[in-house]
Amino acid sequence: MNERKAAGVTDRRLALRNYIKLYLILIRTSIRSRMQYRFNFALGTLLAAIIQLSEFLMVAIVLAKFGAVRGWTMHEVGYLFAVMTLAKTLYRTFANEVHNLERYLVEGELDQLLTKPLPVLLSLMPRGFRLMPGELLQGGAILAWAFGEMLQTGQVTWWAVPQTLFAIVTGGVVLFAIGMATATCGFWTTRISMLQNMTEDAAQTAARYPLTLYPGWMSGLLLTAIPVGLVGYLPALYILRGELGLWVFPVLAAASCLAVLLALRFWKFGISKYQSTGS
């Protein structure tokens, strides 16, 4: 009995290792196909950086004009902006096609993926693997600028750096979970862009500012039902302002794992109800 159990575990490990190997091969293929159009890649990178810069300038101008937002300084809000940008970059680098699921549903491409001997998510995710150096550079530069000032004034220590990296990773996972749960609704509704506008675009824009700006019901919503507040705001309360406690990090880890597990279960349920749009 024990031998059978052990063999089962070994089989699962082997399968997982093969999946990872295959995932890496598919990513490499995706990068190579993008590099066939180098000019597009360079132009896209440059314009992505400009878009990010203009978005941050909007926030920075408001802060330069008014000094602080509900007691949060320009560097603190810059930190919120940078953490959200980097977490979103992480999510969209690895799972851009989850965000683009509507195209697969409308054009019937999902049917092809269902015929492959792989979990749908695994064949979907590497397809849209994209390098996002523009967003990475922009987010990194704003984070470095915010940290530079806060380290100089003694507001934070170097410990804040690994803590922030941890927050970016858990934030990326939370955004992925929200994106996957939103995409899953497409198995019933086919069109999801409207929902994505609310759960992803609007929510992420909101979380670039301290949540105390918003009415109580809205900040509550952004910490629970659409938990974008866990990406930058909650860790910043501890890392930058010394509020809450060290327990924030295990909570972030647990919340991001829980969010992704719930989203995965919802995805599995949704895909079992999927009906092709036909030809």
Partner: protein, 266 residues
């Protein structure tokens, strides 16, 4: 020589078809408006939050809520139009060669279609979003709506400018094969330089100079100032001047396009 005037019936038909095509999806689009109104509400919340701690200048908190309501509403006329007027897809499929062979000028042909799209968006997106935001924020139209005619005139100019800009972005697909990044870059500049979220007078001096040297302030800021009853009618001359300049650029870029286009395959 391709005439613009002799085809007015055709242009009207093209605009009507674009409008009719969109109207098939009005139910879904009306739902989509909630997402757009949610964005607007979010931006209004940011200004309400700021207004609790700071004075918001001549506008005040209520003024900024009106400001955001009007800019969010205007986006569907002055900004969210068809990416590159559909030219990038035509370039990819080779349809552009056929479009250039038609006995109508490419710019006028695509512009007519886009006016139909804009008319639809104005009726089924801008107006519902305006109503939802007014209700959500507890606002009533400024001066009983008497400022609207001038604001809508400026907005019509903005719609024409966005058609011209999208036409040129679309044409760039012949050189870049991909112009979606230009579209998104244009949207970002629109947010920053057109005064979508922040009134232009609050931008740093150098950025105000950059903004006023571009057509962007005439696309959102000027119509919004008219709506708020603060706009100087002289601003409309700026709108007119930019419309003329952009038209000229569109004509020149069509010439360049005709030289560049080549048909492959057989």
């Amino acid at each position: 020589m391709i005439s613009f005037r002799s085809n007015t019936r055709l242009y009207r038909a093209l605009a009507a078809k674009a409008y009719a095509r969109n109207i098939q999806y009005r139910g879904s689009h009306l739902l989509h408006n909630f997402a757009s109104a949610a964005f607007g509400y979010l931006y209004a919340c940011i200004w309400m939050g700021l207004g609790r701690d700071h004075s918001l200048g001549d506008y005040g908190t209520i003024g900024m809520m009106h400001y955001i309501t009007f800019t969010q509403t205007s986006l569907w006329v002055a900004s969210f139009t068809t990416m590159g007027l559909g030219i990038p897809q035509s370039v990819r499929t080779g349809q552009i060669a056929l479009d250039l062979m038609r006995p109508v000028h490419l710019f006028a042909h695509l512009m007519a279609k886009e006016w139909g799209q804009i008319a639809y968006q104005f009726l089924y997106k801008s107006i519902p979003i305006y109503i939802v935001m007014q209700l959500a924020l507890g606002l009533t139209p400024i001066d009983g709506g008497r400022t609207l005619p001038l604001a809508l005139t400026a907005l019509a100019g903005a719609a024409y400018m966005t058609i011209c800009m999208n036409y040129m972005m679309g044409i760039s697909a012949l050189w870049t094969t991909e112009s979606s990044w230009l579209y998104w870059g244009n949207q970002a500049l629109m947010n920053l330089l057109a005064g979508f979220f922040i009134p232009l007078e609050w931008l740093p001096g150098w950025l105000q100079t950059v903004a006023w040297a571009s057509p962007y302030p005439f696309m959102l800021y000027a119509p919004t100032q008219f709506y708020l009853g603060k706009g100087d009618p002289v601003l409309l001359l700026g709108t007119l001047a930019w419309c003329a300049a952009l038209t000229l650029l569109c004509m020149l870029s069509t010439k360049a396009l005709r030289h560049k286009v080549e048909v492959q395959g057989g």
